[in-house]
Symmetry: C2
Subunit: 192 residues, 2 copies
């Protein structure tokens, strides 16, 4: 079991066929995940392709996470909470400036992704819209979005199977609104 | 007035402050649009940043199109139809293989974008999720997506102001389901 401390991130590789389990150990904590083909980093997770092929905004058990080249990257085998977001980009320094009116330094998923992914020669501009595990983005039929506290309880998890060799970036999200106002760790396990 | 013939595309530059008018001359025709910072092509239009900052899935008059670096690329000044999509990636050869069960060659927005953008040294892997003008993607509160015929009538248009110098890729969409089963041209004008 690996621990991502609050408001931080991790990056690692997993092989095709291995399982990744992402756990919310305390409840109400989001984890942003990005994926890259380990053999060619220009292939990466795509919100636009995933929502199109799965014909749903809400991605959960039974769905695949697809790449910009229309290949399957992950299959979601289990999802004990069942609410994730794939609409919104990772929180970044500008998120806090523009949406929180906070000009001071603030940790962000964007920084935690690119600093951890730098060891794989992945740069900030390479970071796509993340699959935001446990994130509770509600929307109405007029399209209005609200970022609500996660519905996840302590111990909820998402279990995924890699469909290709992958570089994974994963965070314990740093944004107040996304996490019910407090910051908690995320746990993950790689299973064979 | 420039004409994009049915199932084709175009790419061009516009300067900060210029206006781009995208017109559906016959009605029920989608136009996929991608944007790149003309001074640094690694900055590009971002669905995830736009939906986040505008707090809405449905982007229309009064909204901005934002980049992956959290800068404003376009402001939507007018939108006579009012329904556009920013969820789904451009149709690609794989769209027709996977969703239409069609293994033969089929024109696609993805091909029409990257072939036209090649003169700016933009490669297929650089193409992001497009802002799909006039595209009528309906969704319910369970997230279920359906691609319905456009609501646009002959002469409907979207007028946008460039907030930076831009490279623009624009199509007359090639997918049957997105265009009510037939393919029509798209017109555009650059206004000073």
């Amino acid at each position: 079991m690996e621990i991502i401390k609050k408001q931080s991130g991790a990056a690692f590789t997993i092989k095709k066929g291995q399982l990744l389990k992402v756990i919310d150990p305390q409840g109400e904590q989001v984890s942003d995940m990005v994926l890259f083909n380990a053999g060619d980093k220009r292939e990466k997770i795509s919100s636009g392709k995933t929502l199109d092929f799965e014909e749903n905004i809400l991605i959960t058990k039974g769905d695949f996470l697809w790449s910009n080249r229309s290949n399957k990257m992950m299959e979601i085998l289990e999802d004990t909470n069942g609410r994730n977001d794939f609409l919104l980009a990772p929180c970044s320094p500008e998120t806090f400036k523009i949406m929180y009116k906070n000009d001071k330094y603030h940790p962000s998923c964007f920084e935690n992704l690119y600093t951890n992914l730098a060891k794989f020669d992945i740069e900030p501009d390479d970071i796509p819209t993340a699959f935001n595990i446990f994130m509770n983005v509600q929307f109405d039929l007029n399209g209005k979005i609200s970022v609500d506290p996660p519905l996840s309880k302590a111990g909820d998890y998402v279990l995924m199977e890699a469909k290709m060799d992958l570089i994974v970036g994963l965070t314990a999200c740093s944004a107040e609104d996304s996490n019910g106002g407090s910051f908690k760790p995320i746990h993950y396990e790689i299973l064979n």
